[in-house]
């Protein structure tokens, strides 16, 4: 449905995108992640035809964004990162304006208006001037604008930025509700928001894609090894020495634990059973086992590892 191939974009001497490629099938939802200035918004502006790529190709539903931008635009609903609102208008005037500009009229316009007002929870502010709305309602009005023409593709640039936790859940549920029928790309800084909505993510850093895949695969690919926390009631030095002798562990690192506990973070290869040996190690020394858990890397760890400049060589990425 969306195909981005080898796209580059430069602003003066800044290279905003440097050979970016990814694709998205119909009905898929993509979480688009990256630190500030990574190039997320730039990539979205190119998909929505607001900007033209310097090199590479982008197509939406098989239509090239440079060759036929109007056809592409009619398929896309777009929420830019800055509220695209006319604050001198009322909410209903604004939505009517966008609806008409997108070719809706008459009964159809009325039906779509009712739908977006319901879906985005705008009933209470429908006849209010936009400059009197709170940030959350502004964001929802922006979202309503992107949905008014029932587009096949949604491009949402930080749809939850600046919202309170309840509103974030509201927007998340809205996106989940749309998921069945639409192809969606959304960018965000808040990683916990991603996994409830989708498990497909693309991580971009410094204008390059550093990871593309399912969250679980990425977590493993990025960190290479499994992470286990273990704690014994034991003298710290003795426990550490015993762990180092155990074999099969790649890394043993003391970490802070409760009083009297010697606590360690250890790394092992995926698929290798180290929990049982770690348990037996305690028994054989007569140490109480206080903690033993596998702690898979979170998306957050992955994100940090992949986007810390130079921390992870490109081969590690899942591209």
């Amino acid at each position: 449905m969306i195909e981005v191939r080898d796209v580059t974009k430069r602003f003066g001497t800044t290279v905003a995108l440097d050979g970016v490629s990814f694709r998205l099938d119909k009905g898929e939802i993509l979480g688009f992640l990256g630190p500030n200035g990574a190039g997320k918004s730039t990539a979205m502006k190119i998909v929505t035809t607001f900007l033209a790529p310097d090199g590479g190709t982008v197509s939406v539903d098989g239509i090239d964004v440079l060759r036929n931008p109007l056809e592409v635009r009619s398929r896309i609903g777009y929420l830019p990162e800055n509220h695209p609102l006319y604050v001198d208008m009322m909410v209903h005037e604004y939505l009517q304006f966008v609806g008409r500009a997108r070719g809706l009229a008459g009964d159809e316009l009325r039906r779509r208006l009712e739908w977006v007002v319901e879906a985005c929870g705008l009933g209470s502010v429908f006849r209010k001037p936009i400059n009197e709305l709170s940030k959350g309602f502004r964001q929802r009005t922006g979202l309503a604008q992107a949905l008014i023409h029932d587009p096949e593709v949604l491009i949402l640039d930080e749809p939850t930025s600046g919202l309170d936790p309840l509103q974030i859940i509201g927007i998340r549920e809205l996106i989940q509700g749309l998921a069945r029928s639409k192809t969606i790309i959304f960018s965000t800084h808040i990683l916990q928001e991603v996994s409830p909505v989708t498990d497909r993510v693309v991580i971009i850093n410094g204008g390059r894609i550093v990871a593309d895949g399912r969250i679980g695969e990425l977590e493993r690919a990025a960190m290479g090894r499994n992470r286990i926390f273990v704690a014994y009631r034991a003298p710290a030095a003795a426990a550490e020495a015993a762990l180092r002798d155990l074999g099969g562990l790649h890394e043993v690192r003391p970490v802070a634990g409760r009083d009297g506990a010697a606590r360690f973070e250890v790394r092992a290869d995926f698929g290798q059973d180290v929990l049982a040996p770690l348990g037996r190690l305690g028994q054989s020394h007569g140490w109480d086992l206080l903690e033993l858990q596998e702690s898979p890397f979170s998306l957050e760890d992955t994100f940090i590892a992949l986007t810390r400049q130079g921390a992870v060589p490109r081969e590690v990425s899942h591209v």
């Binding site: 929505t48 033209a52 109007l70 635009r73 006319y86 208008m89 966008v98 500009a101 997108r102």
Partner: protein
Amino acid sequence: MSNAGVIFRREFAAYFNSPIAYIFIIVFLVLNCGLFMTPFFLAQLADMRDFFGNLPLFLIFFIPAVTMRLWAEDKRSGTFELLMTLPMKSSEVMLGKYFAAMAFYVVALLGTLPIPIMLAMLGKPDLGAVFGGYLGALLLGGLYMAVGIFTSGLLRDQISAFILGMLACFALFLVGVPAVSATIDGWVGGFGSFLQNAFGLMPHYQALQRGVLELGDLAYFLGLTAVFLVLNAVWLEGRKY
């Protein structure tokens, strides 16, 4: 409704969504009618020569004030991105904005209609000159408006857009003033006359003001207006790269 029509409707309403529109129109009427009324009562002349004679200078301030927001405001808020990702050509968006600004100006001009009506009741004005004067006012305003919408696109800030628009309109005005073209001729032989003939608006405007309708004068205003609108459209497309 056509694409440009949808934009027109929103932009025209936007002028009247703020009190500034009413202030603009009142200032326009008070200044113009005031400037006109004084000689009218002093010299007892039943014509609108002074009114139309003042316009080229007065509109240098008025029109850029009307056009300064056209792109600058959208660029400052996020709405520029909305407009440029609607399924319509950027030139359609531009024409909608341009004609909305023109319609606002026409509303201001309509406010001056009591003057010719009063003249017609009091004396025998040269109706050809009055008609020519209004046509000139429309064409002149249309040209300044095209300059103004173009310069509004170049800048993000409304006040800068206003000043740049004013300077550009003033330049068009100046090169048509004989004293100025003579001075430029003094620096670079013939260049001042060339500028005056090619771009100067006063000769064309004065012809219309006399009630003389010639193709050349119409072509000047419409042609130069089209040039600035095309420049604006080119800028809108070029900005993507």
